[in-house]
Symmetry: C2
Subunit: 398 residues, 2 copies
Amino acid sequence: MKPVKFTIDKKISGGLGRAGTIITPHGALETPVFIVVGTKGSVKSLTTEQVLGLGGQSVLANTYHLYLEPGDELVKNSGGLGKFMNWEGPTFTDSGGFQVFSLGAAMGKSVGKIATGEEIAEYTDEGNFGGKLAQIDEEGVTFRSFMNGSEHRFTPERSMEIQQNLGADIIFAFDECTSPMAPKEYQMQAMERTHRWAKRCLESHSKIDQALFGVIQGGRFEDLRKESAKVLAGLEVNGKTFDGFGIGGSFVKEDMATAVRWVNEILPEDKPRHLLGVGEPEDLFLGVENGCDTFDCVAPTRQGRNGNFYTNEGRIIIQNSKFREDLSPVEKDCGCYACKNFSKAYIAHLFRAKEMLGPTLGSIHNLYFIVNLVKKIRQSILDGNFPQFKEEFLGKYR
Amino acid sequence: MKPVKFTIDKKISGGLGRAGTIITPHGALETPVFIVVGTKGSVKSLTTEQVLGLGGQSVLANTYHLYLEPGDELVKNSGGLGKFMNWEGPTFTDSGGFQVFSLGAAMGKSVGKIATGEEIAEYTDEGNFGGKLAQIDEEGVTFRSFMNGSEHRFTPERSMEIQQNLGADIIFAFDECTSPMAPKEYQMQAMERTHRWAKRCLESHSKIDQALFGVIQGGRFEDLRKESAKVLAGLEVNGKTFDGFGIGGSFVKEDMATAVRWVNEILPEDKPRHLLGVGEPEDLFLGVENGCDTFDCVAPTRQGRNGNFYTNEGRIIIQNSKFREDLSPVEKDCGCYACKNFSKAYIAHLFRAKEMLGPTLGSIHNLYFIVNLVKKIRQSILDGNFPQFKEEFLGKYR
């Protein structure tokens, strides 16, 4: 019995993209699907009722954050992540690898999965994002808490133990996440270590109703990405293989689609593929087109909290003075709670008045926008008109 | 045609208290009722859907705040306060009097309606809370914005104009709110000015589907409170009288019930009475018992945002370490969204992790608690057992 079952419903003609269904112990995911991020066991500023209301199918939380607060034992004692946060649908946790390196090194800075040139420049010199607050060895990583500086250690085995306690339906192997601009030599070493850690994850993971995904690394190097896909796709320990795959690492924006294609041409077609930390509209089209099934990203809620609203014509900044007296909704035909009930003028007022309802409405709208965009992408695959839908959408979206 | 119609459904035997119904242009209020505060046109951290879900019947917003941001003209152009904030039920606005004086003088400090001894001590010397940022004359008040220090002027006529633009169902006459410890001489002068302003409010108010309530002042002095009630109850301008009354002023806690009784023994029985800014459980019982019908207070949401949750045994601080692993709800038999779906341990985690959902759940729970407490008080009046219910509730509530 596999913890998750994946079936392909329809493929994009002549390409890697597909629409499918992942059956998890907590229900089905119709892919491609955007997984809503609830880093600390809460989708920021939203109740689970609101997440359901906007069409969210699944939530992804963070091993690193939940381990530090409130602790994985408490989550386990609460009946697992879903029960703890009152989410009845499928759940994911990522392995904590990305956070150990990015938060460890970049205390107070936010390092996006798709880095800008400036962000990358800060981390060019050394391999693991400067490594200031995370020390890596063959066994694992010692790091300091972003909350209080206390020292902690993650190993592949410990990550599995914590993620089994958190109890999500789909979890990820513990990987080392490198800077996209790290030298190739370092990328290779890190990737090979990630492969050895992947094997240890497969060995130590024992929760049978929980799917374990391997994480592909290799940066922007074709040979490394392909090798990583080949090694992890073929990895077998006592008859056990990965139930699916995550595609990890920070990407330089232009490289993302290519790197994803290299990998997905090699990964087995019959297992689901998650593109970690990617969720801007253009990137979602590219990710789907190149064979990814599930996505997660903090951008929709983070942008929404800051008053940046997605629309079919691109993002708008609600605090812009031109919206001060605009009595129309953010998006005319949008079905989200914010657009059905409030004007731009009202939402702009909430942001000016520093009312918490502003960030809440921004999060609802943006998540609705992205979740439903991916649903429409799925439908376009089923309808056999993905290329047309992509062209139509991106033609308007600036 | 009166803008609101008030009927008494049942009285507390031998006392001033009563259960009644106020019919407004936007629906009925079953009294006694707690009016949910949405100062800036938003019940802090909640959607209007959530306010409805917890049993909220009506929302009270603030003239002073909405005048400054986003401006009353915009609210008018949006179709009025209810439409602007997507609240279909009855709405109130207070006159801005309290805020002009308290926020004007006490920039950055919060002056509660029921002041503590220390708060009062700061304002003992002068009449109108020190008057540093509010200058009063016979015509009106010049004050500085709490937002940016810009200068503004309110007169009774201007307050009516703004409140007519905001368009709530029930509005209040513009009054001068004095410190509860101001000398009697000043209290008397302020009260008499408030009476002259009340007459000007009646004269200038012209919106026929909007009820205008006079505001009784007089501090803690029996003769002044009684005079204020007598004068405003009898005030008639061109055949027009007040549709109801607000009882205003900051109270010293011990004096509240007495001052309310003095007033309500004089006010006409057939008009509704609002106790401004009062909403702690004990005070609600005292207010109802002494003849008040409607109440508003920021305490439930403010307390909830800070992690202080009402329970039948008194308030608890959710961040207290004893709740860290407590998997039971805040209140066992509570029907609110927070208690039905989340444990104390989870809510405590949200506050520790600084997740916005924490303050949201705190606001939902506390508003549910207070709104439903007043509903139960109403029911106890209808059932003829108010004294027993009061004793039972306050016996447990510490």
